[in-house]
Symmetry: C2
Subunit: 216 residues, 2 copies
DNA sequence: GTCTTTCTGTAGCGACCGCTAGGAAAATCT
DNA sequence: AGATTTTCCTAGCGGTCGCTACAGAAAGAC
């Protein structure tokens, strides 16, 4: 049958390169990173529960035992998918906050980029962290994403608070409310992207949302 | 095969007490409206997919055949639950929009009441229409709630547009963006209520969200 | 009472769920 | 070459899913 080996990618991509060709047994017939990305897309589109293991094996192009050997169980695979997502497709928010000189500019850029990212037709709409584990029979999986969402809002708040301390924002600024507002807007944008909103509509939403900031 | 005709069974004998005495066979051993409310709470808390029929029969206190006889299949029961929710717990938005003299006051009241409603400890947090059918294997059920969400935003937009026409808002007002913003905020508030936000926090969010309106 | 109608509980259907045993296949090591 | 290690495929495990056949139970109609 099919054997598209590509021996260099087989053993390396898993963890640290190590240099020593350590593959003793039969080499893996699929690229782990590619399969992981397929799993990411499936979980992103349909969520944790609605993506069955047989869905995963189909889109990843591998059998169930290969999946369990390479990624652990479904839950462990989802954990890894969430980490990958946060470091790639979902990293624009942290980047915007870190690279812009003020909280206001950072959040403005974050919302503008969210409008583009959440409606990008090259992948599922919206945000995986917002949607992939709602209504989940596993409380632990639900908690995994909830904590990421709440951590995101907390990061916004501390970034805003830093600008208040630095005198870039008025002393009476309600950092918590500003952070919650930005969080609500980005979560709502994700929902609306899933519901069919266009990029331009979300950009207009992002723009108007930024007018709440002091001295605009 | 199936003979579930009897137009009275669907909703007639629900609460019209024995005045007309239509009941021929063995009377129902449970109150239909009460059982429906229990189903509503279960769907509200866990969503459509994650609420199994055996969950439903347990919280409703009836057997599966009784459920199917009284409410049709799971999907039909969910449809009815959504209608009941929209007419009760979810009716505050339409009410605020209809009763306040301006779009701005209506939306302000809507967001304030959402903060209270979504964090009310006497029932599940957040909004059933936002959360109960995300990541659903049934595309039809997902579409059912998506259309209600989009209709809600469209209603906001037309209410705002009416105020623009009436001269209550500046001629250049971006009604669509204002409506999308209010929709995103209320959807985000629902998400944050589910994630543990307190009423006061959501009220502060609602308040700051209203500062985007012209001449505030 | 008996008949008819409707509801209730038991018990189980086929389909799918997440997951894994077991053996054949494909590589390296000696 | 054989031995060893690791992956792959087939097949199927126990469990739950939504849903229903069936027979007994509880009411009005006669």
């Amino acid at each position: 049958m099919r054997y598209k080996i590509s021996p260099m990618t087989t053993g390396r991509d898993t963890q640290t390169q190590g240099g020593t060709g350590r593959t003793r047994g039969r080499p893996r017939s699929f690229d782990r990173a590619t399969a992981l990305e397929k799993a990411l897309m499936a979980f992103w589109e349909h969520g944790y529960e609605a993506t069955s293991v047989s869905d995963l094996t189909r889109v990843m192009g591998i059998g169930a035992p290969s999946l369990y050997a390479a990624f652990g169980d479904k839950r462990t695979l989802f954990d890894e998918v969430v980490r990958v997502y946060a470091g790639t497709h979902g990293a624009f928010a942290d980047r915007a906050l870190a690279e812009e000189p003020t909280a206001r500019e950072g959040i403005g850029r974050m919302l503008r980029e969210a409008a583009a990212e959440y409606t990008d037709p090259s992948h599922p709409y919206g945000c995986l962290i917002v949607h992939a584990a709602t209504n989940c029979t596993s409380a632990e999986v639900e908690a995994l994403l909830r904590e990421r969402r709440n951590a995101g809002i907390a990061a916004l708040e501390s970034r805003i608070r830093a600008d208040v301390v630095a005198g870039l924002l008025p002393a009476g600024t309600d950092a918590a409310a500003l952070a919650r507002h930005a969080g609500a807007v980005i979560q709502g944008m994700s929902q609306q992207a899933r519901d069919g909103a266009q990029r331009e509509e979300l950009e207009a939403l992002a723009k108007i949302a930024m007018t709440i900031w002091p001295h605009d």
